[in-house]
Structure formats: C-alpha cells, structure tokens
Symmetry: C2
Subunit: 416 residues, 2 copies
Amino acid sequence: MDTVFENVTAVLPDGSALKDAYIGINAGLITYIGPQPPAETAANVIDGRGKVLMPGLTNAHTHLPMTLLRGYADDMDLQTWLFQHIFPAEDKLTGGLVRTGAQLALMECLASGTVSVTDMYFFSADIAYAVAESGMKGNLSRPFMAENNEVRFSEAEELVARYHGFDNNRIQVDASVHAEYTSGPEIWEAAVRFAQKHGLRIHTHLSETAREHNECVAKYGLTPTAVFDRHGLFSVPVTAAHCVHITDEDIAILAARGASAVHNPVSNLKLGSGTARVRAMVKGGVNVALGTDGAASNNSLDLFEEMKTAALLAAGNDPLTATGALRLATVNGAASQGRNAGQIALGCEADLILLDFDQPHLQPLHNVVSSVVYSARGSDVRLTMVNGKILYRDGEFLTIDRERVLHETRKAACIF
Amino acid sequence: MDTVFENVTAVLPDGSALKDAYIGINAGLITYIGPQPPAETAANVIDGRGKVLMPGLTNAHTHLPMTLLRGYADDMDLQTWLFQHIFPAEDKLTGGLVRTGAQLALMECLASGTVSVTDMYFFSADIAYAVAESGMKGNLSRPFMAENNEVRFSEAEELVARYHGFDNNRIQVDASVHAEYTSGPEIWEAAVRFAQKHGLRIHTHLSETAREHNECVAKYGLTPTAVFDRHGLFSVPVTAAHCVHITDEDIAILAARGASAVHNPVSNLKLGSGTARVRAMVKGGVNVALGTDGAASNNSLDLFEEMKTAALLAAGNDPLTATGALRLATVNGAASQGRNAGQIALGCEADLILLDFDQPHLQPLHNVVSSVVYSARGSDVRLTMVNGKILYRDGEFLTIDRERVLHETRKAACIF
C-alpha cells in the first residue's frame, strides 16, 4: 500500500462521517476504508487526528488564465464587463502570459482543495502544459466561435493530438462551442463531428443571461437548449455552464440526453445574470456540477465559497442541503468529466483533501458535512492529493514554483 | 509614538489605496498617515511589505455564544429552526457554557479581522466578561421580552452597573427589545425609559420575516417599524437587525430617526427569510451596517464572507460596489455603535487589521478594495489591533487561551 491516512474523520458518499477511520491508497486508487488499520503496511503514513478527509473538489467551469484580470473590472453587468473591459484586455494576452495566469490559478485551486478543472480559453496548449505539469486533472478546450473558425479548429486538433489522454487520462480534451450567441448551426454540427471523431465531450456556455435566451428565441423560435438539441449537440456528452435561464422543457432535454449543467452561483450574481434553478434541475434528473467561472467575474476560485453560496441560494422551504451542495462539487463534478472519482469509495481515483478542523471557526463539530459546507473555507485545506500523489501540503506547492509564478504575475499585470 | 506600520498598502476612507504608506498610532488613536516615515520614532515598528492595512470590521448583529450550536440544525426555515431546535438546546445553557461559547466566537472574530461586536443574548454578564478580557469592543445587551420580563430588566440593570463604559467605553451596554413579535407596547416603552435613564442605544430584531411583518400588520394595522415608532422606540438611537421586509415608509422612518439597519445576508438566505433592500436603504439615507447573526444560522462569523455576499446580492445594474460593501462593515458599523472608528483617518480609534496579499488568490492586485471584498477571506488576516493594542498576530491569540477554550468547547458540545 502506498499511503494510509490514520485516525481521520472521513466524509462518506452518503454524507455521513466515519470517525477515527483508516483510508488506504494504492496505485492511485482508494483500496481500503475501515475503522481498523489495514493489514498491509503503507510506505507513507499521514496522521489525520483533528482533521477531516474528503473527496477533492472539481471546478466544472472556469477560465484559468483570467486570474490575471482579477479585480480588473467589477460592479457592472455582463455585457459591459465583457465587451468594454474583458475582451480588449484579452487582446493583449500571449501564450506566455496565459501560462502564467493558469499556473497562478492552479496554485489557488490546489491550496483550496480543487483537484480537477474544466477549462475553456485560448492559448489552450499553454494551459494544458500548466495543468500537465501541476499534476492536477483537467478537461481542457479551445472554444469554437463564428470568428476565426478555421484557426480554432486547427488549434483544437493540435490540442487533441498533444494532450488528449495524457498521463492515463489525467488530461482530457473537450470539444467546445463557446455559446449559442457567438456561433451558429454549422459550427455546432462541425463541433459534434469533431467530438465524435476523437471521442470527446462538448463544453459550452448555455443560457447564461435573459438577453441570450430572448435573442435566441427571437432568432430561431427555440431556446438555446432546444436549438442545440435540434442540431444534435447533445448526441455526445455535454457540459453546459450556467443554465440560468432555462425552461422546464430545457431541463427535460438536458436530463434525457445525459448532459451535465454547471452551476456558477457567484459569477451569475456578480454579473447580474440571475440564479439557476438548481433544485429543479436536480429533481429533473440533470447531473448538476459546480464551477467558479473565471476569476475576473468571481473573483475567487474557492469552491468552498461556491458550495456555501449554492446552498444559501437554494435555502428556505426546499433546500439543496449541505450534503447536496457537497455532491455538486465532488461526485457530480467528476461525473461531468467522465471520471470515476469524487467519492471516498473503494476503487475510486484517490483525489483527496485533508482539512484542519482544530480551529475556532470549525468547532464544535456537531455535523461534519454541515461544517464542511457552511463553515469551512478553502484556506482550511492542509493537503491536496491527485491520483494518490500529494501536490500541496501545509502551504507548500510540490509541483509549481510559487515565487517564480507570483513574480511573473506581477510583471504580467502591468500590461493591462 | 507607540506603533508605526511601514511600507504598507493602506485602504483610505474614499476606497482608494495609499501604497508604501506609513501609519502611526499613539495612545490608541491614528496619529500619522503619510507616504514618508513620521518624524517621531515609534516603540513598535511593523513591516507592511506585501500587506494591506485596513480598518477592522464591526459585526453589528450577532449572538456570540451560539457558536456552540454551529451545525446543530441546518437546512430548515426560521420557525422550525428556532422553535423546534434552537430554543430547546438553549434551555440547556449555563453561564459557564455561554462564556465558553463567547470566547470561542471572539477567537473566530479576531482571527478574521473583526474588532467590535453588537451582541444580544442571555447570561449577558458572562459575555461581557469574555469581551472585556479579550480586548475587543462590544455593544452588549440582555433582551427584553414578554416572558420573564422582571428578571430581564433586573439583569440589564446589573449589566449596566458592571460594564457600561468599561475601559474608556470599549464596552457599552445597549437596551434591547428582542423583537416586536416577542414583546408589546409596555415593554417597548419601558425599554425606552431604561435607555434614556442610562444613556443607552437600543438593539432589536426588526422585520426579519414576511410572517412577522404580516402578523404585525394584522395585529396593529402598522408595520413593525411604524408601530415601534408610534411607541417612541426611535427616540433613542436604534440598531435594527435584519430589516428584510420593510416598506419605503419604513425606510423613511429609519432615516428620519437616525436608526441603523443591520444587513445579515447569509443568515437571511440560510433561514429562507429573503434579502434586505440594502440599496434602497442606503439611498434613503439609512446608516446600514453588516452582521453575521449567530453562528447557528450562518455558520460562520467571517465578515469578509458577509461583505462579498452583500455585494453579490446587490450586483447587476445598480450595484452596491466593493467600496460600498466595505463601508457597511467598517465606518457604518462603528457609527451604529456610536464610535469614532472604522476608518484610517487622523484621530480615529486605532482598530486596524493587516492582511497578507502575497498569496496566489490575492494576486495580481489591480484594485485593492475589490480584492479585499471579492477575493480576500478572513483567513488572510495576520494581525488584529484594537485601540492600538495587538490582540491577534500570525495565528496567536494574545488575550485568549486558545487550547483551554477549544477543550471546553468540545466538552460543552456533548450536552446537546
């Protein structure tokens, strides 16, 4: 056995907690769960007293390099933010800057318990390089849009050739349709052919704003979900980010086609887009995952904050519950990437995080999952492990040169 | 001069940041602000490189000892939560347990940058003891209700005698009317006489739920704000917590009477009470402060989270803005307690906090106040100072015995 966590409080898939537990890991998988030590000795023993071991978190929709634009433009609606501030700033980006922004983001992710990301951005090969080097998991994509369409498809082909399946599928490439309103039926159908040719999922923005919904209905007589469906987009597994302005019929389509919806509550509030109907989607059978969106519209990549916000926005008479919110960020997130992860269960990929609960804001401990969702912060994470390998521990990044990336970040910020 | 912060980025009252600043403190007040070192030498020099110095935060509505019930009952509406779970649990509390819960809460406050609290609870002398010992500021009160009214007034008298004005007004006692729905006109008028006799403010819960609003209108033909006003409650300065279900006329009354409203966005979401109209109150001239409410309905006392939630809920076309959200938690909070604090300005009380910005999730730094509100967490606080005295630094509590309180907390939790 490679590693064992001893005397730890482990969060189990049903939301219960196993106290004084032993969790064993071998060859990147969880191979032992029990109240007694495993028979086999482990090369690496980690003391879990006063700590909670839980599945690592999946950020199912983000744009990693947008960390460089953290705090660059705030307190405005999506249209103003995007067209007057973000797009002009992004015109100044280079591959090197994108790599730096992605590395900065990956440090933030690791330090706050995120083990896997679903990203969509340009200079995607630089992002893939950064994720590959970091040891994290990622579903990465170069989005297709009406503009510069040929270049985008050729970059996506190159990304697939270089990175799809890297390190035993730790990195997967997605096909990506940026959004309904930035493309059209020809591109959607080409994206489906591209995905089918390489065996990829599709990542897209879907029904983020009321304006998008209304303009689509005016143009096609159909909602974005329905017009995508008419053109076969959901014939491959789809990860649809936002899903704020969707109808009951849209929910039925997403559920029937096995699509995943990604809830981005903080970004949707900050840009004034609204709040997705998470309870309706969950009850309708849609796999709902959780994302932060980019740091420019959040301005954080901390999924603990996102879990709490998701639970709070759904609270009242028909709550999501703490266990439900945790599920979005763990097993549902992993499912949205097609991975056997996100749970402390035998045979699951060993993507685990350890939180220090011996702190005033996490005591007393009446209910472990409640405290994870409503009281813990990303900064309580003391160890982040992906496929059984420790990537972050006690403030140290084992795969990323913290000081170099922070130095390059400060230089990069001067160009905006 | 007692203390100088050197080479620090200081947040100024207008929301701008003074980089490489020197901030001097003498006899508990801010006495120097400038880009050059002060002429006078300081006994204590604090290096501020890579750090942000900002006003400490005021938690303008909380119930400190409810930390003992953190995570005890979640995912239900206010009525069920309060009557079926919280009240029965509170029946088991003793003065000793309340003191432990308050000390636990004060550690959480200090570690996340809170310098002052407005509290309302029972065993209030034990809470006052804990706040006095901690070095923090507090406006503390024993609430008046219809039930056991005589005991409550006599406890409040004793609290005033022992603690009102303690340590140069570091501790102030408020009169407190628990809420409109738990008392009546005789108690309101008695509370006003009590406040006038001792020169106190009044702290109350006001219009937290739609049910409270509707039942009050049915009973008196007036909103809770209007019926309080008819009985003279606002003839003394009032701190009114929640103010979720208030009318434009209520806002006009609060503004005209100089009352402070306390926004508790997380608790209001979690208990399904709704979201207060903060923009309308601010525009209407009401002093709006920020609070966490008790840890049992939040489940955190981190005002950084509360600032971000307040900004997010107000975002869209008419945002509160990051500067506006910061104002709620600083200068407005101090004003709601009648204190000359909450700003880095000459002559203000030196209640200051220092945040470490040399971290991946706080870089790059395009806009300091945006990063404070949208990206920082309570865990970024490295130093908390009240009246020029350091109470918390680099994880160490200088006035509270962390291990003893955590030990007593774990014992206390077993009784529920």
